[in-house]
Symmetry: C2
Subunit: 146 residues, 2 copies
DNA sequence: TGCATATAGTTAGTTAAACAACTAACTAAA
DNA sequence: TTTAGTTAGTTGTTTAACTAACTATATGCA
């Protein structure tokens, strides 16, 4: 145990993740301003479908670190927005494959550009090597607790 | 603009803050196992009251990075749990000062120890200087977007 | 074949976040 | 002192997270 790494007064911001909250909020505002009617959570699902269309809900769970009910709801809402479509798998009738609609495909570039812009704003003035350290630490944290 | 710091494929985990989610989830489980009947969000309010009792709701907003309705509801629930009490300010009748009950004071040590344990687990194997870099980067991110 | 077990997804219930619209109380300037 | 603007807090609505309990389908093994 590395007991003195954190003094009690410093626990808070690490645990509550205010930085990532701020990033998410900033991106949501950009979406709203641009008239993109998606939430960050919905975006996080679309993001993975843009990388690989036709994932199952289970795969989306793993990719987005969400549980099954969350994905059910998110896909419900994305279907209502006509951005994705559930298609039953031919091989295994338990499985829903989730496919992007034309409409969602058209959103990709704009949404990704806004996400990139948010990150560039967030990381303004941070040297690349420090970003790398930060990414590594956060990855270790995630792996340690998984 | 530092345009090539992030490749598009790397946006995701930074924006969605999976590390802080994992930390929060881990701490919540520790609370549950220990029979502490508080949520992480409630803990985040208690945390600041343990540092300084009798803060106003507005001050709690700033400290926890939440908006006013969120604090209203968290304090509502903490009151139901008999962990805090609203006391109208003498000087300004708009203001509620939020005070810890005896019961909440008794929770402090146990809750803080669990939070510390979570962080030690999370940061196992991460050298202290890298943690410092990480904290600095996250602080800059937060300030950049504020 | 048949049954236990695992997997994919849904539904229900509680808690919380974000936003907008609101009331009440205070402050400062005409 | 009246009015305009600000600040503190509450309420309503939508979206989402997490847990538990559920249905339906598939798989593995006796």
């Amino acid at each position: 145990m590395q007991n003195n790494q954190f003094k009690k007064g410093e626990l808070y911001s690490f645990i509550t993740g205010k930085a990532s909250t701020a990033i998410a909020r900033n991106l949501q505002k950009k979406f709203n301003s641009a008239g993109l009617k998606v939430t960050i959570e919905q975006w996080s699902v679309l993001y993975h479908l843009w990388k690989q269309d036709g994932m199952s809900q289970q795969e989306l769970c793993k990719a987005t670190f969400r549980d099954k009910p969350s994905i059910t709801r998110l896909v419900d809402n994305l279907e209502k927005l006509q951005l994705v479509k559930r298609v039953p798998s031919g091989n295994d009738r338990r499985i829903n494959l989730v496919y992007l609609t034309r409409q969602a495909q058209r959103l990709q570039e704009e949404a990704m550009n806004l996400a990139e812009a948010t990150l560039n704003e967030a990381l303004e003035g941070v040297p690349p090597d420090r970003i790398d350290v930060c990414k590594e630490v956060l990855q270790i944290v995630y792996d340690n607790l998984k």
